[in-house]
Amino acid sequence: MIKKNYLEDLNNAKKPFIIYKSNKGFDLYTDFSKKIILTNNNVEKFINESTKLKSKNKETDLFIGFFGYEILNNLIGVKVKKQKGLKFPKGIFYKPESKLKLPNKLNYKNLRIVKSSKLFKININKASYKVIFDKFKKKIKSGETYQIKICTKYSNKAHIDALDFFSRLVKSNMAPEAFMIKDKDYSIISCSPENLIIKEKDLITTKPIAGTLKKTKKLNKIKALAFFRKNIKENKEHNMIVDMERSDLSKICKAGSVKILKKKIVEEYKDLYHYVSLIGGRLKNNISSLDIIKAMMPGGSVIGCPKISTLNLLNNQEKENRNVYTGSFGYIKSNGNMRFNIIIRSILNYKNKSEISVASGVVIDSNAQHEFNENYIKAKALMDLYK
């Protein structure tokens, strides 16, 4: 049993820690014996050596942390031009020496007040968004991309208590891939719903989400499914992602083993319904952790399709670094098992600056005004935490 004020004490001790959603509650990792800051030069070595830990303790024989968007591009040979941004590390992993189980209801109350400028600045206003949107629509017509996600970023100056934010966030928006990292000079808080990789022995699965519906009193799960089935645009976007993830898995899986395990089902969350599929396969012999990461990341559902050509279009367009947004958080165990999500619905707070990035998809029948507003709605749930 953990002490009642454990989280408070941990937070006050200013020790770095990580919390990650588990099946029944959360896992807390702390007492880090190693911290590895990733660069384009050491990332491959890190991944290759992450499974060479000498086994001492099954529970903590792992590296936990994140890969940012840029480093994942670099891993698959896609260039990102020099961009503006916070100069935040491209990726950080930790070797924990302690792991504790926490319940779903996080017992933490912050007494300090959040110090922040209430007003968030957006990096792309509605007019510029429309310009980018129309440009990408032309690229869809000429076949360079079939679906592309425009990213907008909201930022402000803020001094926050990350644990307070996280416990409030999971209270209102519990998500199966929620996590937080708190370190001395930064924190990340996320209620990501999307798992990108679960790898256990030779079995690997991915669970893309494409399609979101806000809950209303009139809706239920069956009606939500009927809505998605009838909605041609949502269906097309989803189909594309399913075929793309099948192909990504096929790079590393045995021929004939890649199967759609759950095809276009609805999952219910506190405030919304998601249209999801579960796809899995059996890994070929001699596939390394690096092979898996290169095949699956960055997760396609938040980028667009086809992945490489769409990444190039995005990277030529975007002036600001995405940092952790659409990167992946998770762990690699010393036995090679892994779990990684896609970092979305997240706040990055670094040197007392906060940023919240959001994206929504352009397909041939999308509408700029609608997608711009959709982005705002996604960001609002996180910006409300600053009130």
Binding site: I140, K141, S142, G143, E144, T145, Y146, Q147, N235, K236, E237, H238, N239, M240, V242, D243, M244, R246, S247, D248, L249, S250, K251, A255, G256, V258, I260, K263, G300, C305, P306, K307, I308, S309, T310, V363, I364
Partner: protein, 185 residues
């Protein structure tokens, strides 16, 4: 051995797994061709991909070099690549099909498939073949049941085949049938 030329698409490895049902497969990027393996192969497959055939001159020259020497198969962009090399015009279409399941129909007596047979297939294409199109020994053998857009070409004399739709997509019913028939032709 089947040699698949990948135009850096996010569907190519579905194509690879589908062909692996029938023979050994090697797959390389269009700009990293293994000449030795290409020469040794019996079948060359041009994968789907972004953009237009004119963006891939290397693939065009491979087509011209091996035409009538090896069996050649094209899927989506690969289909357009073959048509482009046969002086067909590839143009933008008004209604775009991405992630779309639609009905197509066999429209020719000379097809490996039975005339008037209908299939549900997955489509991902911005561009289409401009018609009329004629090329020696080529025939358009399948069309979209609604828009009439060309969906398959067959050249049974020189063993060249192409599909505008995606036989490897989960949206295509009996996708393996298409590949099996043209590989055994």
């Amino acid at each position: 051995m089947i040699y698949i030329i990948d135009h850096k698409d996010s569907f190519t490895h579905n194509v690879v797994h589908q062909f692996e049902n029938f023979d050994d497969v090697t797959c390389d990027n269009f700009n990293e061709i293994d000449e030795n393996k290409l020469n040794k192969s019996n079948v060359i497959v041009f994968s789907p991909g972004p953009g237009a055939p004119k963006d891939y001159p290397i693939s065009s020259s491979i087509y011209k070099k091996f035409k009538s020497k090896k069996k050649i198969i094209g899927i989506c962009l690969g289909f357009q690549q073959i048509l482009h090399c046969e002086k067909g015009k590839i143009i933008e279409q008004k209604k775009i099909y991405h992630g779309y399941q639609s009905k197509i129909k066999v429209t020719s007596d000379n097809s490996l498939f039975k005339k008037n047979r209908k299939f549900n297939v997955g489509r991902y294409h911005s561009l289409k073949l401009k018609e009329p199109f004629t090329a020696k020994n080529f025939e358009i053998t399948m069309r979209c049941a609604i828009s009439n857009v060309a969906m398959a070409i067959e050249n049974n004399k020189e063993k060249i085949y192409g599909f505008q739709f995606h036989p490897e997509s989960f949206l295509t019913e009996n996708g393996n049938l298409f590949i099996k028939k043209i590989l055994s032709a």
